[in-house]
Symmetry: C2
Subunit: 436 residues, 2 copies
C-alpha cells in the first residue's frame, strides 16, 4: 500500500458476555481511541459471540474491507475460547503447535510459582504463518496474521493485557508500516446549555469561519451530550481536493467559538471539569471543601478521582441527614423549618459552614431532591440548590434537573463544580485554556 | 414466523464518538441485556459512524440476517444526525414530514418553556411506512420499520431516552409478536476471591450437581470479574435433546454453592452490594455513617445512589486532609505521627470518630494510598486500611489493591461495604438472599 494513504481499519471484539449485556465493552472504546490517536480511521466495529464460524465470518468480512483489523477476546485456555481456531479457519490455514511458545508459557507459570495446566497447551497453537505478539501480563500471547491485503492483529480480551499489547507491540508495527498521521480536531467543553441551543449559536460563527480557508471549509462538527455537559468537537475532514484544516487553523476558531459558547464553555481539549478545577486551584494555591446532601459525596469523589487532588481538596461533610447539617455545618433549626432543607438559605449556610468546619479557602454546597421520592408541587424531584462561599462573597443557583436519581446526582455534582469554576474565573484565578 | 421459535436479533449502534473512542458504548450492553432477559438471542452487534451509506449498509445486512434489529443513535436535530435518512435509504423508501409529529415536538418545547429551533423540524421526518415510537424524555421520537422479514426498531442514543423507549415501547411489541421466553440463570455475587480460585472451588460441587438432573447436566458457568467482585452466572443451556434446567432446578444449586463460595458470597441475584446493604440496614433499623480518606466520598456516594438511602445513611466525613481527620474525627496527632495516616490505628479511630460525630449506629472508615504518588516500600500504592465500629466491637482489615487509582478507589469503597455486611451478618442482621 502507498505510504501516506490513510489505511482503513476495523475492530472485531469477541465474547458472549458482550452480547448478553453482562459486560460493557471498554475494549472497543480503548482500541478506537488508540486508533484515532494514530490517525487510523476506524470505519466499523463488530461484536460477535465465542462461536468459531461467527468469528471467522466477521474477521473475513473485516479483512476484505480494511488494511488493518484489530481483534480481541477469546484467547484464554478454556473451551469457550475459540478465537485462534476461528482465525485459522478465516485465513484458510491449519493450526500448528509452537514448542518455543509452549516453553514461554511454561516459564510464565514457573515465575508465578504455579504448575501449568494441560489446558494451557492450547495457547501455544497459532495459525500457520502467524507471528506471535508477546504478552508480559498473562499467559495468552496474541498474534499477527496477514489476510489478503489486511494485517490482522489478534489480542487478549483482558483489558490491561490488551492495552499493554496494543501500545507495546501493535502500535510500533502500525507506525512503521503506514505513514500514520492523526486527524486534527478541537474539543470545546460546555456545561449548562442544550445541544440544539449550542448548534443554533454556533451556526453563524462556523459558517463565517468556513470562509477563512479551504481547510476550515470542510470541518465537521459533532455534539456529544452527557447531561449537563455537551462537548463540541470540530474535526478536520479533507474536502474533495484532499485539503484538511491544520491544527493551527482549527485553533483560530477559539476566539470566535469562545464568544459564542459563553457562559457555558469552561475549557478547550479533552480534560474534564474536575481536572481543570484541580489544576486551577493548585495554581491559585487555594483549598476546597464541600458540603453535600443529595449528591452523597459524589462531588468530592469526582475531585478525589483526579491524581494530585490532595493538593487542593480538604474534604467534605456529607450531611445526608438534617441532624448532621445542624451538628457539623451549623445550619440552624429555624432555617430548616422555615425554608426547608432544600432552599437557598440552607445551601448558603451549608457552604459557609463547610468552609469553617473544614478550614478551607472556599467551599461549595449541594442540597436537593434526587428522587424518586421526596418531591412536592413546590419543590419537585430535581430541585437542587447549590452555593459557593469563598470568604469574599457567596453565590447561589437553583437548578431544575431531570429525569432520574443517577442523572440528577451526577448533574448536581458537576453544576456545583461549574459554580466554583465560574467564581474562580470571576476572580481571575481560572481561565479557559487548552488542556488534554 | 412461527410462534415459539427463538427470533434472531442484531444490534446496530451509531455514532462517531463510539469509533473515535470518546465514548464507551453502554447502549450496546443495555440493549443486549434487555434482549437477553426477553430471551431474544443477539448474534452480533455492529457499530458504525454517522455516515448515511455506512449506516444503511449495516442495517440492511443486519435485517437480512435477523428477525429483530435494534438500532440506536443519530436521531438528534444536528447535521451529523443522519440515521433517519439512512434507514429510508436502507429500506428503499422516501422520507416524509409528519405534521402531527411536528406538533408533538412543538408541544414538548412549549412545556420546557423554550422555543423550538428550526433544526428540530428534521426530527418530524420519518421513512414512509414507519411507525413512531414516542419519547417522553426528549425531542427525538424513535420509529419502527419493517424491512423484509425483519422488524427494525430505531431509538435515540441518549442512554436514558433509549432505556425508556426500549422498555416502554419496544419490549411490549416484542413480547406480543414473538413467544419470547427468558433463558433461566442464577447469579451468585462474590467479593474478595479471584476468578480461578472460585472456579477451582466450584468444580467439584458443580460436577456433582450436574448429575442431579438432565437439565442441570447442561448448565453453563460464566465468571464475570469486576474487581474486587466476581459474579458467577450459572445459565440453563439446552442439552442435545433440548432439555434445559428450570429456574427451580437452578435454585437447588444455592445450598451447595453457598457453602463453596463462603466467605466471598454476599448475595444471589442481580442486586448490587450497596442495594443489599441499604435493604439490610433498613430492616435492622440501623443508621450508617462513613469516614473516608482515599475514596474521597465514593463509598457514601455509592450508598446514596440507592433510592431510599436516606432511611439508613446519616452522612460521611470525607477527611482527605489530615487536619480534618483530627478536627472532625478526633484522630490524635500522635497516632498519625507514630503509625501514619494509613494504618490500622488511624482507620479504627476514624470509624469510631465518625460514629460519634455523625451520631450513627455504626460507621465504616477507609484510609489508604490510591496513587499514583504517595507509595513507599513499606506502604506501596494500593495499601488500604478499612474498619467498622458498631458500638459493640471494632473490626479491621488491610487490603493490597491494584493496579491504578480508579480501580483502587472503587475496590476500597466496595470492600468497606463488604466489611459492614459481614459484621451485620455476624450479628444476624443480614443474610444471603435472592434479590434482583
Amino acid at each position: 500500500m502507498a505510504l501516506g494513504k490513510h489505511p482503513r481499519g476495523r475492530i472485531v471484539t469477541i465474547g458472549d458476555e458482550l452480547l448478553s449485556g453482562d459486560t460493557v465493552d471498554t475494549n472497543l472504546a480503548f482500541l478506537a481511541s488508540r486508533a484515532r490517536s494514530l490517525g487510523l480511521e476506524m470505519g466499523r466495529a463488530v461484536t460477535v459471540r465465542d462461536r468459531e464460524a461467527e468469528i471467522a465470518d466477521a474477521v473475513r468480512c473485516a479483512a476484505e474491507n480494511a488494511e488493518v483489523c484489530l481483534v480481541c477476546g477469546g484467547l484464554g485456555p478454556t473451551s469457550d475460547d475459540v478465537t485462534t481456531a476461528a482465525l485459522a479457519h478465516a485465513a484458510g490455514v491449519e493450526l500448528e503447535l509452537d514448542d518455543a511458545e509452549l516453553a514461554v508459557i511454561g516459564r510464565k507459570f514457573e515465575r508465578m510459582g504455579r504448575r501449568m495446566a494441560a489446558v494451557n497447551t492450547k495457547q501455544a497453537r497459532r495459525p500457520v504463518g502467524a507471528r506471535w505478539l508477546p504478552n508480559s501480563l498473562g499467559s495468552a500471547s496474541g498474534f499477527e496474521l496477514e489476510m489478503g491485503r489486511c494485517a490482522v492483529f489478534v489480542m487478549p480480551g483482558v483489558p490491561r493485557e490488551l492495552e499493554r499489547m496494543m501500545t507495546a507491540e501493535v502500535e510500533p508495527v502500525l507506525r512503521h508500516r503506514f505513514a500514520l498521521r492523526e486527524r486534527p480536531r478541537r474539543i470545546y467543553r460546555t456545561l449548562g446549555m442544550g445541544e440544539s441551543d449550542l448548534a443554533t449559536r454556533l451556526q453563524g460563527p462556523l459558517d463565517r469561519a468556513r470562509g477563512w480557508s479551504a481547510g476550515l471549509s470542510a470541518v465537521f462538527v459533532h455534539y456529544r451530550p452527557a447531561m449537563p455537559e455537551v462537548t463540541v468537537v470540530v474535526e478536520a475532514v479533507p474536502d474533495e481536493r484532499g485539503r484538511a484544516a491544520t491544527p493551527a487553523e482549527l485553533a483560530e476558531l477559539d476566539d470566535t467559538l469562545r464568544e459564542a459558547l459563553r457562559p457555558a464553555l469552561y475549557g478547550i481539549g479533552g480534560a474534564s471539569l474536575p481536572r481543570r478545577l484541580v489544576a486551577a486551584l493548585t495554581r491559585a494555591g487555594l483549598r476546597l471543601g464541600l458540603a453535600e446532601s443529595c449528591t452523597g459525596g459524589g462531588t468530592a469523589a469526582m475531585i478525589a478521582a483526579i491524581p494530585g487532588a490532595s493538593a487542593v481538596l480538604d474534604g467534605a461533610i456529607v450531611a445526608y441527614e438534617n441532624r448532621v447539617k445542624k451538628a457539623l455545618l451549623g445550619v440552624s433549626e429555624r432555617d430548616i423549618e422555615e425554608h426547608g432543607a432544600v432552599s437557598e438559605v440552607v445551601a448558603l449556610a451549608m457552604a459557609s459552614g463547610a468552609r469553617q468546619a473544614l478550614g478551607s479557602d472556599l467551599a461549595a454546597s449541594i442540597t436537593g431532591i434526587a428522587g424518586p421520592g421526596g418531591g412536592t408541587a413546590e419543590k419537585p424531584v430535581g430541585t437542587v440548590h447549590i452555593a459557593v462561599s469563598d470568604g469574599q462573597t457567596m453565590v447561589h443557583e437553583v437548578l431544575r434537573l431531570r429525569p432520574d436519581r443517577p442523572t440528577i446526582q451526577r448533574a448536581a455534582a458537576l453544576w456545583a463544580q461549574k459554580l466554583v469554576w465560574d467564581r474562580l474565573e470571576q476572580r481571575g484565578l481560572a481561565a479557559i485554556e487548552v488542556l488534554d
